[in-house]
């Protein structure tokens, strides 16, 4: 039984198949990368995993249990957290309150929620801005807030959707460090990324898709050398 498995996922929007038969398995403790050109179906796959879309067909299994028909909040309680490609800060709440709201998914009193929230904020390096309104944060801060919030829900599996986009080189280094730290703490990670440098560096294995279908899977080196992948990307970005 795989730790996490996506089995022949298909999603149609009207007549268009956004995802058309994607399957992969992720082992516990892995950092698993998902790459593909724009519009290839990566975020739709994430949305199906986290319950925002129902698959047209196919299954998602987490620790042997089918989760693709569960509502999103149940999936969170089962231990799967996610960040959003277009960040969704709870704008008029402070960073601390954002994370407290997340922490409430695991504890029930304000005191404990605050404690948990501060721990997550410390871990992710947002302590200096904890009393700032979320909408006042620059993009790097907002992306980090997405991760911090997700971490406060104590996920066993974390879905990161393009957390590195829009960051400058030093911010990128910090982001990579944080992701490594998260994995070291025992969380399995599936990461969607466009910035090749990031995903090639930190992933244990990579799955490449195009037009909703798998085109390659393997170690970063293997995938980078794959003919179909190179064609799909026309060789951009590899640092």
């Amino acid at each position: 039984m795989a730790y996490f498995q996506v089995d022949r996922l298909v999603k149609y929007f009207g007549g268009l198949a956004a995802v058309n038969g994607v399957s992969f398995e992720v082992g516990q403790g892995e950092i698993f990368g998902l790459i593909g050109p724009n519009g290839s179906g990566k975020t739709t796959t994430f949305n199906m995993i986290s319950g925002y879309h129902r698959p047209t067909s196919g299954r998602v299994l987490f620790q042997g249990r089918e989760i693709h028909r569960l509502p999103t909040h149940r999936i969170c309680h089962l231990g799967i957290g996610r960040t959003f490609q277009v960040v969704k800060p709870l704008g008029r709440m402070t960073v601390l309150d954002n994370v407290i709201a997340a922490a409430y998914s695991r504890v029930n009193t304000h005191h404990k929620a605050r404690e948990e929230a501060l721990k997550a904020i410390e871990f992710c390096g947002l302590m200096p801005v904890r009393d700032v309104l979320a909408k006042a944060l620059p993009i790097a801060g907002r992306k980090r807030l997405e991760i911090t919030r997700a971490m406060a829900t104590r996920p066993e599996l974390l879905l990161l959707d393009e957390t590195a986009a829009g960051l400058n080189p030093s911010e990128l280094v910090e982001a990579i460090d944080l992701i490594r730290k998260i994995r070291a703490g025992g969380t399995t990670i599936i990461i969607i990324e466009h910035i090749m440098h990031v995903i090639m560096t930190i992933s244990d294995r990579i799955h490449a898709i195009n037009f909703g279908q798998t085109i390659a899977e393997g170690t970063p080196k293997e995938v980078a050398a794959n003919q179909a992948v190179i064609e799909a990307y026309l060789g951009t970005d590899y640092a």
Binding site: P71, T72, C76, F84, P89, L90, R92, M93, S105
Partner: protein, 334 residues
């Protein structure tokens, strides 16, 4: 510390009022004000905190009022039982109401609540054998003096504000605001948004229903047009919230005071000021202005809505820094 004393000081003043003021007219206005504090706070929770702007609060108000009234006419029981039960009937009506309306978001939700409000109003009119139809319900008021009603209303207002304070700081409070800010993000954080939206609706329905029951007991007369009224109840509730400041605990209280005052000001031509001025100065035109103002109170409301939305979108409490700057020329230093 100072900030916390203000509400307590106000409470002391309000509590002591009936002892010093004998004029029934002003006591009446205060009772209305207290009732609107309850309704406004309730609306504030579902709209200001949870972000679901309901245009149908009259539905809950009417339910509570009719519960109280029907208990008397059909079961011969005192209408005061309506206070206890009115909240619960309102919830019973509110839950399916919410289940239907929450399927939609944003402005469609608002429209659906409006439609449902109207359905209830027409329903109450049509179901003549049950509700008395357009004739309405008339009961004998329990007390001759206003003081008992005043203190009951005061107790309700204080209770509603206190409970709002409690809710806002609790887990549901955080969840409500999260839903308002971003429903999808909230879901990803493990929040059962559907459940919590219903919860906030139940809270709003309960308090508004109780206010309706109070109204039945106090005024002694209701009919579908009065209690299910879109403009006088639903929209008034929204105005109370918006003028005072949504998303703040005391906003609606401020809003209730301002709205009741303004409403009465128009209705009475600035409390009879113009009439008196006219009589004193013998000026005919001043008397006519008084008459005009009385007629124009709804117009005044309409203009108020437009002006408040344009210039004070976050209400008096919400935009207080802005007001301080402009009106009092005090720079808060942003």
């Amino acid at each position: 510390m100072k900030k916390k004393l203000i509400p307590l000081a106000v409470l002391a003043v309000v509590a002591g009022l009936p002892l010093v003021m004998r004029d029934n007219y002003y006591l009446h206005l205060m009772i209305l004000f207290l009732m609107w504090v309850v309704i406004g706070s309730a609306w504030n929770l579902i709209a200001g905190y949870t972000g679901q702007v309901s245009f149908g609060d009259a539905a809950f108000f009417g339910c509570g009022a009719y519960t109280a009234g029907l208990l008397a006419t059909h079961l011969g029981v005192s209408t005061w039982w309506g206070l206890a039960l009115g909240g619960f009937t309102a919830i019973a009506v509110g839950l399916p109401f919410g289940w239907i309306c929450f399927r939609m978001r944003g402005a469609y939700f608002a429209l659906a609540t409006l439609a449902l409000n109207e359905v209830l109003r027409h329903g109450a009119t049509i179901a003549e054998s049950f509700t008395g139809g357009m004739v309405g319900i008339l009961i004998m008021p329990s007390f001759t003096s206003k003081a008992p009603y005043y203190y009951i209303a005061l107790a309700m207002a204080v209770a509603s504000l206190a409970s709002l304070q409690l809710v806002v700081r609790s887990k549901p409070g955080y969840y409500f605001v999260s839903i308002r800010e971003d429903q999808d993000a909230a879901e990803s954080l493990g929040i059962n948004t559907h459940f919590y939206k219903m919860l906030s609706l139940a809270y709003a329905a309960f308090w508004t229903g109780m206010a309706g029951a109070l109204y039945m007991n106090y005024m002694g007369f209701i009919d579908p047009h009065v209690v299910f009224n879109l403009h006088d109840i639903s929209i008034m509730a929204i105005l109370v919230g918006i003028v005072g400041g949504v998303g703040t605990v005391y906003g609606p209280a401020v809003g209730a005071f301002v709205m009741v005052a303004i409403q009465e000001m128009f209705r009475s031509g600035f409390f009879g000021l113009f009439k008196w001025l006219g009589a004193v100065s013998g000026s005919d035109s001043l008397v006519r202005v008084a008459a005009v103002l009385t007629q124009a109170h709804v117009l005044g409301f309409g203009i108020l809505v437009v002006v408040v939305i344009l210039f004070l979108p976050n209400g008096i409490v919400g935009d207080w820094p802005k007001i301080r700057k402009r009106v009092f020329r005090l720079d808060v230093g942003a």
